[in-house]
Symmetry: C2
Subunit: 102 residues, 2 copies
């Protein structure tokens, strides 16, 4: 039971959101702080945290914490990745479907 379709769909789901794409774009090749991201994208604190969590759990974004004058400051950076949806993955899904038919 590899659940290819479900797994791949949930990976795509993480990317299928404009706010998250913008966060990844801003943190591309450049570390950004939460404050910076919140200001540029006009996001509330809990909202940024929620989006950032999905991105880091999926491995698209990395986080580094640093203590600046007693306060913890977090820096985000986009990881190198490339997710493609095309014939290749569809063939895997098809195989799985044919297998599950026994």
């Amino acid at each position: 039971m590899s659940e290819t379709a479900e797994e791949f769909a949930s990976l795509l789901k993480v990317l299928a959101n404009p706010v998250r794409l913008k966060i990844l774009a801003l943190c591309l090749n450049k570390e950004r702080t939460s404050k910076e991201l919140r200001k540029k994208l006009r996001l509330s604190k809990p909202l940024l945290i929620a989006h950032v969590r999905k991105l880091t759990s999926a491995g698209f974004l990395s986080c580094r914490a640093e203590v600046v004058k007693g306060r913890v400051v977090k820096y985000y950076r986009t990881e190198r990745f490339e997710v493609c949806c095309g014939e290749e993955i569809l063939k895997d899904i098809l195989e799985e479907l044919e297998d599950s038919e026994k």
Copy 2:
């Protein structure tokens, strides 16, 4: 106002669903009828129609209608496509964000 992030996210959203990925997998290099899809994926009629509509509107799936003994039968086939999310598109989104800052 190109709205790259929004547009790209909605394209990904169409693919970010296991049922739709399975439909695309089944129709890869092989025409399938609605009946076949419904049976293999255990979908109700309105549900298959809803998923298929999203796929065809986005251009991932094509539909051909044929009249067999007075009844209209529809055949679906997956179009050749490749949607990738990586540095390239993120750079476009970043540019857009920087432009909108004026």
